[in-house]
Symmetry: C2
Subunit: 236 residues, 2 copies
Amino acid sequence: MLTPIDQLALERAPTFREAAYHAIKQAILNGSLESGQPLVEERLAEMLQISRTPVREALAILEHEGLIAPVYRRGLFVCKLTREQVIELFTANEAVEPFLARRAAHYASPEQTVALESAIRDGEACAERNDIAGFLRAGRIFHAGIGRAAGNLTLARFVERNEERVDLFLMGYRKAVDVEMMRTSNREHRAIYRAIVQRDPDAAARLSIYHLQSVRERFAALVGDDDRDDALPLDN
Amino acid sequence: MLTPIDQLALERAPTFREAAYHAIKQAILNGSLESGQPLVEERLAEMLQISRTPVREALAILEHEGLIAPVYRRGLFVCKLTREQVIELFTANEAVEPFLARRAAHYASPEQTVALESAIRDGEACAERNDIAGFLRAGRIFHAGIGRAAGNLTLARFVERNEERVDLFLMGYRKAVDVEMMRTSNREHRAIYRAIVQRDPDAAARLSIYHLQSVRERFAALVGDDDRDDALPLDN
DNA sequence: TATCAGTTTATGGTATACACAATGCTCACA
DNA sequence: TGTGAGCATTGTGTATACCATAAACTGATA
């Protein structure tokens, strides 16, 4: 997984750098690039059928975003976040998401609510066929969609990046994710969605908070207290 | 302003890319790189005494952060934000900063409060000698310091980036910034600081909200209703 | 088995080349 | 004097080749 950059990719991203950035990020979040092995520039360039130059620039950005981390002169590795870092990300989202849900209930346009619905449906379909990566991706789209509907691109992107990093962590536990977890999450998404459609800001914010707590609990159930400290201390 | 990368710069940033990133960002926020003229890679490389490659990588990151924006095959330009974008940034910070101030009042360590105090003092000194760029920089350090004291690096960095973009905008109006404005802002910072030191989370949050509203008002007074729409529609 | 030297690998950086796009300039022409 | 076509210039976006460095691997030797 990490196919050559074709015409289609270039239509969405004007430059090779951008296309490579998206392709590599996708591959990381799909789990196609396993987090143990290093990302070798030349290999990536070969896979994408481009030269090292735009690959390096894409990697520089991904590094800055905290998805990959360099070990000096040893290579770039997909980040292994610690539990503490993930909890920090949860906290960050808790500060922001209820705020966004509230505003989304105020401002969401019809097209935006349609986008939310389709993200939920996508998530549901992925859950049923046990496609973890797809389920997580749909979740990111849903949360980012709320941000957009709230009319604040800055916060929307912030949440999206946080979700990406959380999902990256969760992919490491994907064997432990079961269908029921995903279904629960989807139900909560749908509840938030309904509150937004019904223009009920208080409910949207409340349900958003509930969802985040619920996610935290599922996270604790997944990760538990096991002190698997194989995580590299890589705080980009 | 944009001196060659020396030993000192390399000590703080391990690679040329990182050093270039910091140097260029500094120059932009100092106002040394005027926002009208393009940032020419080769010129920057020459000034920093390095080759184009690390400069390009640094620029790719700055572009991704929304401080500079490319015009396809015409060059990179320092972003000119619109009023609407700045207001979006204010809103984002309003969602986050009271949250951080509250937590900082809980968790701030002695070293962290010392850092806050020194940032405030720096801001005061800059205000008296009418050093706008320095005053803004001190403000960024103060706000980022609260984020760090709150124990959430993710949110701290988010606020810091937002402040950077706001300050970039404000530098465009630096002729209109007067000492009294800066003094007012500094007083508000000091009030937040006191609440944090006195371990009064409610007061810290309240004063943080007050400060943000006050900043917004000063912003409106500065920018007013004048429809100077010379701003490029550059939303990175 | 343990150690040490040589080989391999891949980054971080330099340098160069070139297509393409946009801009500016020149100069002929009206 | 004013206009416009064509050319030169500029600078990005990408490719390519090369090097120093440092870590990892390999294998020979004691």
